[in-house]
């Protein structure tokens, strides 16, 4: 798939995100918008995904994920971007995005396996747990002789959780080199800029000291850089070290009034704001809203 196609899909995913949070008047648009490019690059190009379809025309989903790459979202509050990407990729009907955060939905506020939504392999939302799960899944692949990769996305505010550092020391110790972790460096969290709330200081130096192979994506909202970064990360796997990508993004990327502040971490746009956002998110492709 060409980079321009990926960009178009990312715009559509962003339209889905703002419409989803608007429809239920809750959820987390800021971080979701910031990570749209990464999700699209992973699911539509970089990850090896089982493309077999079930009778219902949707991708057939196996929990064990044998023979394919796996993705774990640790910062589960950016569920809108995860749900939209999964639906757009073909795991379930895009119309189901309209049920997000509503009663009896498979699209819970934070991702769960409980309602059996295809594409989700573990619940997340209580922060700091995803990297540990990803390590376990990567170790299972090793035990199974499965050469495919495991990806995990975390937030930068999430780095304040102690469990992250338990996992950070475990992965290099056990030479989990089929694991690519990404930290979304948007610099914002609920109470304000991460620097002010609880500084992460030098994450690059920290992860290096823990034994990770650390690389950077300078602009995680530039599809070309995201794709190049993921390609590079994949080349670094299989060399005895886990890979950490520090990826700078803009919270709210794609919607001007949501960018550059923590204000839109967990706030939904009103009718007028929604229209303003949609006016800015114009695809050149043929896909349409759900």
């Amino acid at each position: 798939m060409q980079t321009q196609e990926l960009r178009d899909i990312a715009v559509q995913v962003r339209r889905d995100i703002v419409r989803m949070v608007h429809a239920c008047q809750s959820g987390h648009p800021g971080g979701s918008l910031g990570c749209a490019d990464l999700f699209v690059a992973l699911y539509f190009q970089q990850m090896k995904i089982n493309n077999r379809k079930g009778k219902d025309t949707y991708l057939s989903f196996n929990m064990d994920g044998k023979g394919e790459d796996l993705f774990f979202l640790s910062n589960g509050h950016i569920s809108p971007v995860f749900y939209s990407t999964l639906a757009r990729r073909g795991y379930f009907d895009v119309k189901e995005l309209a049920t997000f955060r509503k009663i009896d939905s498979r699209l819970q506020g934070h991702p769960t396996t409980h309602e059996h939504l295809p594409g989700i392999r573990v619940a997340s939302g209580s922060l700091g747990q995803g990297l540990s799960v990803a390590i376990g899944a990567a170790l299972a692949k090793r035990l199974n002789g499965d050469k495919n990769l495991v990806y995990c996305l975390m937030g930068d505010g999430e780095q304040q959780e102690g469990q992250v550092w338990e996992a950070a020391q475990a992965a290099p110790h056990h030479k989990v080199d089929n694991l690519i972790a990404v930290i979304d460096l948007n610099g914002q969290q609920i109470d304000g800029p991460t620097e002010k709330v609880m500084s992460n200081r030098d994450l690059k130096a920290k992860y290096k000291a823990f034994g990770w192979n650390v690389m950077e994506i300078k602009d995680g909202n530039d599809m070309e850089q995201v794709v190049a970064g993921l390609r590079k990360a994949k080349r670094l796997t299989g060399k005895g070290q886990p890979i950490m990508i520090l990826m700078k993004t803009e919270m709210g990327a794609g919607v001007d009034y949501m960018m550059g502040s923590h204000k839109w971490h967990g706030v939904a746009p009103n009718d007028e704001q929604l229209q303003k956002a949609l006016d800015q998110l114009v695809t050149t492709g043929t896909i349409g809203d759900y």
Binding site: A123, S126, Q129, S132, V133, L143
Partner: protein
């Protein structure tokens, strides 16, 4: 009453170790994790025979629970092992989100539960874990009573699909159940039939209950002993059948009175058949350093206490 004797004393954690050794040889999907307590959990043989299926997690229990959850995704059956204190309260949220809510086939196998951990004292003597784990949706909770039952429970846990909290202890205790028994999760074991009072017991308290029943028998009182090794799902049918006959019950556990086996029994009785119930359990306090026997005595968990509570329960019958 049915007579029980023993020729040797062994620790229940060694029963777990023996179960793991067998699983290592028979089930290639079983993986063991441990948080720097290999010797205490008696899993040396499993590790020696299956080094590639052992994951040392260091003193980092939260990560261990997550790694175990991840392993299930590739079809593995992970046993995450540590002390009961560090495998329950310390990691409650990890178990809740990554294991129970996510419906992962993780076995949390924990030793040194309760007061009988002894000299290490209250920091390590978890007495609230059954309550926590019982409250958690989707969790199965098992507390076996001796070496043989623990070994059988370990093997049964591997064959059971879903999260399990398997709790056992440190000290050597009489081995009185059958070797190579089949362990049925969720099914009470009728230890001895009786008609005047039902004694429902779990873990180390089952042997105490047998001692108590013998004392009661000498006084002309016939006690029925029911071993509830599976706290959840609770064998309500067996409990109700027994209490409908005896009309009163004593619940016995090495755990707080709040939220454990006793409360599970009370919940069942309240909804189905009202009968006097007495608790043999720790009464809203932490433990302390001491020998297991001293602690069981001081905190009211010995056979003598079961006898007292049984007499009281009988007296409360109309």
């Amino acid at each position: 009453m049915t007579k029980y004797t023993f020729t040797e004393k062994k620790d229940t954690r060694s029963g777990f170790g023996a179960g793991m050794t067998e699983l290592g040889r028979t089930n290639p999907d079983v993986v063991t994790l441990c948080a720097d307590l290999v010797g205490s959990l008696k899993i040396d043989t499993f590790i020696k025979e299956n080094p590639e299926r052992f994951i040392q997690c260091g003193i980092a229990e939260a990560n261990m629970i997550g790694v175990a959850a991840g392993l299930t995704i590739g079809g593995k059956i992970p046993f995450a092992t540590t002390f009961a204190n560090f495998g329950s309260g310390r990691v409650y949220d990890q178990i809740r989100q990554s294991v129970a809510y996510s419906d992962k086939n993780v076995k949390i196998a924990v030793s040194h539960a309760g007061l009988t951990l002894g000299e290490d004292g209250a920091t390590h003597q978890i007495l609230e874990d059954l309550a926590m784990m019982r409250a958690m949706p989707n969790m199965t909770v098992i507390n076996p009573c001796d070496f043989n039952q623990t070994k059988a429970a370990t093997i049964a846990a591997a064959n059971w699909k879903g999260p399990i909290y398997l709790r056992f202890g440190r000290p050597v205790v009489p081995v009185f159940t059958a070797p190579d028994q089949v362990f049925e999760i969720g099914k009470a074991w009728m230890v001895s039939e009786g008609k005047d009072v039902t004694i429902v017991a779990t873990g180390h308290l089952v042997w105490e209950a047998i001692q108590a029943a013998e004392i009661l028998e000498a006084q002309g009182i016939s006690a029925e002993i029911l071993n509830i090794h599976t706290i959840k799902p609770l064998d309500e049918k067996a409990i109700l059948k027994s209490v409908r006959k005896t009309k009163c019950v004593v619940s016995c556990e090495e755990h707080q009175a709040n939220g454990g086996l006793g409360d599970a029994v009370a919940q069942t009785l309240a909804q189905n058949f009202l009968a006097p119930q007495e608790y043999v359990a720790v009464n809203n306090s932490f433990g302390e350093s001491g020998t297991p026997a001293q602690l069981m005595e001081k905190y009211g968990l010995s056979a003598k206490n079961i006898v007292e509570k049984a007499l009281k329960a009988i007296q409360r019958k109309q």
